[in-house]
């Protein structure tokens, strides 16, 4: 059964905010926002524009960050539905994962492993102005592990709500019994939200909701005899009607008995590779992050005894 775990983590997230981010309790600046502006030379900019100067009054209570631009403190939305979330990294930037993510051999990764994080599009405030107005520069790309700043923390908290586990290892022959050299071993896991997905969760804090969904992509079975079996499938449960057939989806055949091991059994490790998709609701901000969960079992394999008369 699928379940959606929802946590309203205002207090928890607020504690993070106070510890990490340059966020004030101030409300949004009234009548301010980013606008397109085309200068006299035809160059397009995104400028921060206020109808009543930059020291405007209260807003509607949205989550507000502060930054210092050209000697003045201004309050900007911590989340923009297109630009991303605000971080004081690099002097004040909006960042969100690039769409699509560049291929693994793209120079944008700058040597980072794509499984360690994401390439973000960053729009950073410039130190100068365009016709007197603050503006964000043309986007650059940056690598960050999963997330950065308070929003990155919220994403990680939402991911932590997912009930991800390794496979609930099922084997034929049953681990309490004995298998035989040359006969197929079947491996599988029952499909639940925790073992194969989809598993979903969401977390609401600071006026945003982070939703996450995880799906298993593969189980790698290390069979204890040096073999690694990659199964892009949870496996097929064995039934006695299958007799000595091989599993149609995930199986292995031992060629040596397990008696030479000190335990007398082959240790089996199943590593489930999860892909977690996260997104901030009602924005274009989202990304993916891989995860692994491991579980283990063992099996005893004997030689096949041939009886002759």
């Amino acid at each position: 059964m699928l379940s959606r775990r929802t946590v309203s983590a205002v207090l928890l997230a607020a504690a993070v905010v106070l510890a990490v981010a340059p966020v004030t309790s101030a409300q949004a600046q009234e009548d301010c926002g980013f606008e397109h502006y085309t200068d006299g030379e035809g160059n397009e900019h995104l400028v921060w524009t206020c109808t009543e100067g930059w020291s405007g009054g209260g807003g509607d209570g949205e989550w507000v960050c502060t930054t210092n631009l050209r000697g003045r403190t201004i309050r900007v939305p911590c989340i923009d539905p297109v630009l991303g979330w605000f971080t004081n990294a690099l002097g004040g930037c909006y960042i969100r994962p690039a769409i699509p993510q560049p291929p693994a051999d793209d120079p944008a990764w700058q040597g980072h492993d794509p499984t360690d994080g994401l390439i973000y599009v960053a729009r950073c405030f410039a130190v100068d102005g365009v016709d007197g107005m603050p503006y964000v520069q043309l986007p650059t790309t940056l690598f960050f592990p999963v997330g950065e700043g308070v929003v990155g923390d919220l994403i990680e908290q939402a991911i932590a709500l997912l009930p991800l586990r390794g496979a609930d290892i099922q084997l034929a022959p049953d681990p309490s019994g004995v298998g035989l050299v040359g006969l197929p071993v079947w491996m599988w896991t029952p499909v639940t939200e925790s073992t194969w997905g989809p598993a979903t969760a969401s977390l609401t804090a600071l006026g945003i909701t982070v939703s996450v969904e995880a799906n298993a992509e593969r189980i790698t079975w290390a069979m204890g005899d040096g073999a690694q079996v990659h199964c892009d499938h949870p496996g097929t449960p064995y039934h006695p009607d299958y007799r000595a057939d091989e599993s149609p989806t995930c199986g292995h055949v031992y060629t040596e008995p397990s008696r030479s091991l000190s335990s007398g059994r082959y240790p089996i490790t199943a590593t489930t590779q999860w892909l977690i998709e996260w997104r901030i609701e009602e924005t274009v901000i989202g990304g993916t992050v891989p995860a692994e969960r491991t579980s283990s079992a063992s099996v005893r394999i004997n030689e096949l005894q041939v009886v002759t008369s």
Binding site: E35, H36, G42, L46, P81, L83, I99, P103, V121, V284
Partner: protein, 187 residues
């Protein structure tokens, strides 16, 4: 092989509704196919089809702007960052301001450069966008409004624009990731 084609293969006079669009002047016609190798010809056809898809999506979305996150899937079929982010920001601005773009433009893309041996393969597309019949209007009243007053780029004014787009091949399709208006040129 580093191929930089001096190609001007085009689909002149494209329009959101074919019957509404007239032929644009001074646009290059299709070159004889004998000058183009089959792989390049196939790539050019794919690029022009993608460009047509992008323009049609743009027209449909700007006729009734929704929040950007609802336009992401459709625009993401044709655009990549940073152009995707820019297009989404425009849609978000139009939605927030209550502005629509009424009428229909015509467009006439040509592939002017193709680098199939690049990693990734890239291309340059040159377009003549005739937006003279594609005008900003207030969503509620239907009355006219201007790009400047609505916080939109100057290229939203009803006019003709020579534009150049960068395209790159990503996984299984061509995506446009940069665009610029050639201000000193007319079409």
């Amino acid at each position: 092989m580093a191929t930089a084609l001096a190609l001007v293969l085009g689909a002149a006079g494209c329009s959101a509704s074919p019957e509404a669009g007239g032929e644009l002047p001074d646009l290059p016609a299709t070159l004889p196919s004998a000058t183009v190798d089959p792989a390049e010809a196939a790539a050019i056809a794919e690029i022009l089809a993608a460009f047509d898809g992008f323009r049609r999506a743009e027209v449909a979305i700007q006729a009734n702007p929704e929040p950007a996150y609802l336009a992401l899937e459709r625009l993401g079929e044709y655009l990549a960052d940073p152009l995707l982010g820019l297009a989404l920001f425009e849609v978000e601005t139009m939605h927030r301001r209550g502005v629509v773009r009424a009428g229909e433009p015509t467009w006439a893309p040509t592939v002017t450069e193709l680098r199939l041996d690049g990693s990734p393969p890239t291309a340059t597309v040159r377009d003549c966008l005739d937006a003279t019949g594609w005008e900003l209007a207030d969503r509620d009243s239907g009355g006219p409004t201007t790009a400047e007053s609505e916080g939109l780029p100057a290229r939203f004014a009803p006019d003709r624009y020579v534009m150049e787009f960068n395209a790159r091949f990503v996984v299984d399709r061509w995506l446009f990731d940069e665009a610029r208006v050639e201000r000193n040129e007319r079409c």
